[in-house]
């Protein structure tokens, strides 16, 4: 099982950052790698079990299903149903935690998946850097650091 763990600090209260990221259909609004997104079957994006169908800037299609969403603990968990990446059993969680010492929050984005060992290093680096850290960098730009 391969693991990716990426974390950062955003200079805004957890509640404000959560408002920006909690929409399971909202990736194109805040993540620079995502071109467009829709929820299949016209379900609301906070209905657990819904599927988002989105395109990366390069045209790749990815379908992901929402497995868990908590407005209390500020996290959501999802799995990949379809993607061009050579991996299976992909489960990821995006989580915010308040930092009480200052107006900022701690953000963690982690994933576990199975893949051929020859692909693991590249997949871990690509997901960690381009997807997770790329998202953090965009949030940091938006919230000023």
């Amino acid at each position: 099982m391969a693991r990716v763990y990426t974390s950062s600090v955003i200079n805004a209260a957890a509640k404000r950052v959560w408002e920006r990221v909690r929409d399971f259909n909202g990736l194109p609004k805040w993540h620079p790698r995502i071109r467009d997104s829709r929820i299949e079957d016209a379900l609301p994006p906070d209905k657990v079990g819904c599927i988002r169908h989105f395109h990366l800037q390069n045209g790749d299609v990815i379908r992901e299903q929402l497995l868990g969403l908590s407005d209390y603990d500020l996290f959501y968990t999802y799995t990949i149903l379809e993607s061009p990446m050579p991996l299976t059993d992909y489960i990821a969680t995006l989580r915010l935690t308040p930092v009480t010492d200052g107006e900022r929050c701690f953000i963690e984005w982690s994933a576990e998946f199975n893949c051929d060992p020859s692909n693991e290093e590249e997949l871990v680096a690509n997901i960690g850097r381009n997807v997770f850290q790329g998202g953090f960098d965009a949030l940091k730009r938006h919230f000023g650091g």
């Binding site: 974390s7 950062s8 930092v99 009480t100 010492d101 900022r104 701690f106």
Partner: protein, 147 residues
């Protein structure tokens, strides 16, 4: 039931902060409220179940028991056994996590406890500010870190 939650970011790698925090008997070296501390029965301080007996600067004595310790999760939990302050059913959790973007550390310290009716705000403030926030600031000073 009163809940206290405090968290901060330390400008040091998680291994360095954990190295200081994991010693359940080490708080007299960095926490300003703790004058002296020892582990009962000569147990090692990373023996889950061990009891630390310590004195505060004002002379009062407390006993706390280590409930969990994880080098993998970089976390530990403990409870109060004896205290002159009316904190009952007090269980606290300390957890560190790496900030991979910048090699820093996220540190949270939380607890739940019961108190006599009417003293909730006062004791929440004591635990939150005099113990946890003061502890964050003391570790920064102990490790020579910037705020």
């Amino acid at each position: 039931m009163v809940k206290v939650y405090k968290s901060t970011i330390m400008d040091a790698p998680v291994e360095a902060v954990w190295d200081v925090l994991r010693d359940f008997n080490g708080h007299d070296r960095w926490h300003p409220a703790v004058a002296s501390s020892q582990i009962e029965r000569n147990n090692p301080s990373d023996l889950v179940g061990c009891v630390r007996r310590f004195k505060l600067e004002d002379g009062s004595q407390l006993r706390e028991q280590l409930l969990t310790l994880s080098d993998l999760e970089q976390s530990f939990s403990y409870c109060l056994l004896d205290t002159p302050v009316p904190l009952f059913n007090y269980v606290a959790h300390v957890r560190l996590a790496p900030v991979t973007d910048g090699d820093r550390t996220f540190w949270e310290w939380e607890s739940r406890f019961d108190t006599p009716k009417g003293r909730e705000d006062e004791l929440r403030e004591v635990v939150s500010e005099n113990i946890y926030q003061a502890g964050f600031d003391a570790i920064r000073a102990h490790m020579g870190l910037q705020r």
